[in-house]
Amino acid sequence: MIDVRLLARGFSPGRALARFAAAHPEAGGIASFTGQVRADEGVEALELTHYAPLTLPGMEALAGEAMARWPLSGILLHHRIGLLAPGAPIVLVAAAARHRRDAFEAADFAMDHLKSEAWFWKRERRADGWHWIEPRAEDHQDRARWAR
């Protein structure tokens, strides 16, 4: 099962994961990653912009790539767009597989690519106004681990 979504409203990663796990009784394990707006740094809000002609198709291609690269039962990529409050979930990635190493690697791979390759633009509001966020060098290095 490939479950790729752009979400304009708040969502519950726990509930999404429960559904995903229930949909994969044949999988021994599900690895997941939830990214959320950090609440400790003076960030008052986060805004995520996307570009419809590219963003969802790009995520679907990423999901397909992960399915082709690891023996997965399924993959889930959910990503918020719009305005987010501190503590709100931004992204949920989950991979279901027979063997846990495959699930972990696929989830890790998907996150690295969502961070530095998916068509999202993020800005955060602090006391002094809005600031655009660019990927860190670290994000590009993380993605480079998967080159082959």
């Binding site: 068509w119 999202f120 800005r123």
Partner: protein
């Protein structure tokens, strides 16, 4: 993405500015007259936006597909060009 009614009424080339480029442009979208090639686009953009667009970090999407080579741009009225600065998702 524009398609369909091209020519039925005069429409320009639609420009879409993403991320910080929308701030530079002062708007998320603009429309300029076509046809438009790469030098034409740079000439049509306000200075700071043209400078940003010219850097390697800014990609161009043409009707929903990223151009491998920006200089190959050839847009007509009704087409959509998106200017894509470095992404930051997740």
């Amino acid at each position: 993405m524009a398609d369909g009614a091209r020519g039925a009424e005069p429409v320009g080339v639609k420009l879409v500015f993403l991320g910080r480029l929308a701030d530079l442009a002062g708007a998320g979208e603009a429309e300029i007259a076509g046809p438009l090639d790469w030098p034409g686009l740079l000439a049509a953009l306000p200075g700071p936006l043209a400078e940003a667009a010219a850097t390697e970090r800014v990609k161009l999407a043409f009707n929903g597909r990223v151009l491998p080579d920006k200089r190959a741009l050839a847009a007509r009225e009704g087409d959509e060009i998106a200017l894509l600065p470095p992404v930051s998702g997740g």
